[in-house]
Symmetry: C2
Subunit: 254 residues, 2 copies
Amino acid sequence: MTGKLTVVGLGPGSAELTTPAVSRALAEATDLVGYTTYLDRVPVGIERQRRHGSDNRVEVERARHALSLAASGNNVVVVSSGDPGVFAMAAALFEAVESGDPSWRTLDIRIEPGVTAMLAAAAEAGAPLGGDFCAISLSDNLKAWATIAQRLEAAARGDFVIALYNPASVARPDQLGQAFDLLRSVKAPDTPVVFVRAAGTPEARLRIARLGDADPAGADMRTLVLVGSSRTRLIERPGGAPWIYTPRSERDVA
Amino acid sequence: MTGKLTVVGLGPGSAELTTPAVSRALAEATDLVGYTTYLDRVPVGIERQRRHGSDNRVEVERARHALSLAASGNNVVVVSSGDPGVFAMAAALFEAVESGDPSWRTLDIRIEPGVTAMLAAAAEAGAPLGGDFCAISLSDNLKAWATIAQRLEAAARGDFVIALYNPASVARPDQLGQAFDLLRSVKAPDTPVVFVRAAGTPEARLRIARLGDADPAGADMRTLVLVGSSRTRLIERPGGAPWIYTPRSERDVA
């Protein structure tokens, strides 16, 4: 088959954080497929470029549609936010390939990486991911809460910095509070917690708390929550929010 | 103070993966500070731009130098590979701030995120990071092997996909093998393991193995090793290496 399918990540929001490789793929595509909100972020590409927008939460159907278009010989780009491989469209695409038309396995499929929300959120705060870290999605649309709880506990016992994706939504208002309760049973109350909303956009907003009394309210689907390790600390500074960082070392620098 | 200091990540290698925000910061800087190998990747910027290259492994000294230059009123950019917040210069910079001249806390310090090696490596392989995942550096230059071992075990017990940074070097040839032994005590022998060398560059090379008999030889400082979760799987295809991906769901797609 001669069709081509590329799954790209736009990065967290600002066009300044979209890689040139992604911008080129978008400009050259005959067909763009994605959640409408993300497609709206893409500048106009080649003449006669077609845009196939869809609602959120229909990832596998969207992937099948993209694969069909590519199988017909088109140059298709599937658009994700952030990095396509992190809680985004790349896994959904391969789910569709695995369960779909065997001829789709002969397509030229590429993944173009991007800046995922966790990296943009960390950059807004300082360097909280300076040590080993985990990324966990709190959404239980596709996995059991028991699995999420087990991972939170393992991450806490391993003293990882923890990045929480999808911390809350209208349908799931209580899970971030439950996650904090679980983490409090292992991590110290003074562990720094950072809420970053709209990281990597001009509207980015930072809220700093301590795990012991961190208020889960206010987190939504655009919020990334970072929970520190035992080494994560604040640097106070005059005239600004403190920087949060995790030293690389287990010992303090002299 | 009027000086400015920005820590940037060039991404994994190809200039096509450097964000426009980072390219702009590099072009406008009066002073570039970094490991010489990374500085050599930066195109020429403004006239009279100064470059301060140094050897690897002197991160905090390099950070102090950058802070001094910024405190003198310069527009300084500290250059990292990948993302500056992931096993790179951002944490070293804040270590230097915390232990250094109190006036450094009034500087305009920014972190510009980038595509970290794990994301580029995953993109070369398919979508192995499709579920929850951890990133662990195997380097014991700054932390005890016991800490690393504890984290590996916690990550395995939590059934995370695991990205291993700095899996081996000339000085540490045996740690990846030790890590595999440790992971084998928890994870199944048929767990997919992917070695990606020079991810995100034209020389990228992929090797796929199973944890039960994965050979740690051949991994070096330019290799990123991904170890799957219990759900990570291969999609065989004609005429190419299999795709590796981790479904988002705990249940198979119909």
